[in-house]
């Protein structure tokens, strides 16, 4: 909707403001009269009229609004023609066919390389994802004012520097930026932090990431990494119900109740991944999806998981990737071999999962004193309540 309005009005800020105005009007009107059957068309018409009003006002004040004068003329002329029915049917057409192209252009604008990565993430959630400022702030663990400021600054730059809402020539390069941003959003939702439960659950952020990634992957079928990311997200999300127990503590993969896994979502993940792999252009997201896929099987083939991690390290070297490999090595060569490997990795001193991994390995070796020391460090560094809960439980089990 926002993408279409921006296209028709020629200005992102005016489109965004007008859409918010329309939603506000809708909330008031529908509270009395009930939600109309075609709410989307209603919103579109109201927003477009509001947008044209804003364009007219700006025009009357002699201010430059649309960088493309032709877009402005078309928008005003369209509104003068005045056919609400035409606009309503336009909105329906958008829902059916244009939506993936419009959405893609908006996503690519939000992830334009002329914007900082923080801004790309914020804009994608706020404009393409349609979250409120408050929800974005909760998802990213930022003050609302920061989110607001990022959006305002970004809109100002988009307008002043005339960043276009187009399918760019260097689409492949731009798709890579988009994939990175969608991956970051998913990590925020799934792995990094627990969002503020009152406004938004972590699952909501992950669902938003999945929805946006599915839209992007649909619109860009020649980008197997986008599909790889989507498959990875689906595999992770399918286990959400089993990831925490009744007390809110984390449940390890090996201990999860597999009955709670969403089999349909896993099936969708496998289909998406198979289609991506058929293009024979492997990348780190596809390899991570392969690893996640392996973990959905009844018995995990650990030597294969180690090989996938080796492959991933050639694409994406770094201490966190090495840690993940070491954890897989424990299942093949035993905890002693894994500990040797973990202790060789530098740069993980303040990463709580590294200490948790070492603690678990020391426990398996049988050295409870070393294990306790490592668990304590993990507890001190963890921020996610479910993870803290889990670590505390492991500590008290050891002390018993």
């Amino acid at each position: 909707m926002l993408a279409l309005l921006t296209d028709r009005l020629g200005d992102l800020e005016i489109a965004h403001d007008s859409l918010q105005e329309a939603y506000a009007k809708g909330a008031v009107t529908w509270a009395d009269a009930g939600v109309p059957d075609d709410a989307a068309a209603w919103i579109y018409v109201v927003a477009r009229n509001a947008g044209v009003d804003r364009l007219r006002r700006n025009l009357a004040e002699g201010r430059r609004v649309a960088t493309n004068a032709r877009v402005l003329e078309t928008a005003v002329a369209d509104a003068d023609a005045g056919a609400v029915e035409a606009a309503a049917s336009e909105s329906r057409i958008v829902e059916l066919s244009e939506v993936s192209d419009e959405q893609l252009r908006l996503l690519l604008l939000c992830c334009h390389p002329a914007l900082s990565q923080d801004t790309q993430v914020t804009l994608t959630l706020r404009l393409a994802g349609g979250l409120t400022t408050q929800e974005v702030a909760a998802a990213l663990l930022l003050p609302e004012a920061t989110v607001q400021q990022r959006v305002v600054r970004a809109k100002r730059k988009i307008r002043a520097a005339n960043i276009p809402l187009v399918i760019p020539e260097d689409l492949h390069e731009r798709a890579a930026v988009l994939t990175t941003v969608l991956g970051l959003i998913f990590n925020e939702g799934y792995l990094a932090h627990a969002a503020d439960a009152e406004t938004l659950t972590r699952a909501d952020v992950a669902d938003q990431a999945i929805r946006l990634t599915a839209t992007a992957a649909d619109a860009l079928p020649d980008e197997p990494e986008l599909a790889g990311l989507l498959a990875l997200q689906l595999f992770h999300r399918s286990r959400e119900a089993a990831r925490t127990d009744r007390d809110g503590a984390l449940v390890r993969l090996a201990d999860q109740d597999r009955e709670l896994w969403d089999r349909a979502m896993i099936g969708r993940g496998f289909r998406v991944l198979a289609e991506a792999m058929a293009q024979r252009r492997l990348g780190p997201w596809q390899v991570q999806a392969l690893i996640a896929a392996e973990h959905t099987r009844t018995s995990t083939n650990w030597p294969r998981v180690v090989r996938y991690h080796d492959l991933l390290l050639t694409m994406n070297p770094g201490p966190v990737a090495r840690l993940a490999r070491a954890v897989a090595v424990a299942e093949v060569e035993g905890p002693e071999a894994a500990l040797v490997e973990v202790d060789q990795i530098e740069g993980l001193e303040s990463y709580h999962l590294a200490h948790a991994a070492r603690a678990d390995l020391w426990e398996r070796v049988g050295d409870h004193a070393e294990a306790l020391r490592a668990w304590d460090r993990a507890a001190a560094l963890a921020t996610n309540p479910a993870e803290i809960h889990y670590v505390e439980r492991r500590i008290s089990a050891l002390q018993r």
Binding site: R63, R64, T67, N68, A114, A160, A161, N162, I163, P164, V166, P168, E169
Partner: protein
């Protein structure tokens, strides 16, 4: 829409001097860029600057001025030249900035304040 392409590079990096090997190729790349800009009809002018050691800065402070030797910002990369171009969008401007035969350096792309704002 007008954009200024500000070209900066590190003066300590070697670049071919007149008469040296590779100088003709170096100059040819810049001529080619000029020609491409002209053929696209987007060139509003551009110049190369003499080295930052020739720069003088006139600093204004509350109505009075001081004059000092050197560029206004002491950076590793020095402003070496510019192009003013007229293209539709930032993507087009970035496209030209990428085509500049800079070798190693940076190009800042700045939109020009539109005069019809006033």
């Amino acid at each position: 829409m007008k954009y200024l392409l500000l070209i900066a590079s590190d003066p300590s990096l070697p670049s071919p001097e007149p008469g040296e090997d590779g100088f003709d190729e170096y100059m040819a790349a810049w001529s080619q860029f000029d020609q491409d800009l002209n053929e696209a009809g987007v060139n509003l002018g551009g110049e190369a600057l003499q080295g930052a050691e020739t720069a003088t800065t006139v600093r204004h402070h509350q109505g009075s001025t001081t004059i000092a030797d050197g560029p206004f910002a002491e950076l590793k990369e020095h402003l070496g030249g510019y192009y003013l171009i007229d293209v539709d969008t930032l993507d087009d401007a970035i496209g030209w900035a990428r085509k500049l035969p800079v070798g190693t350096g940076a190009v800042e792309v700045r939109p020009i304040f539109p005069t019809d704002e006033f």
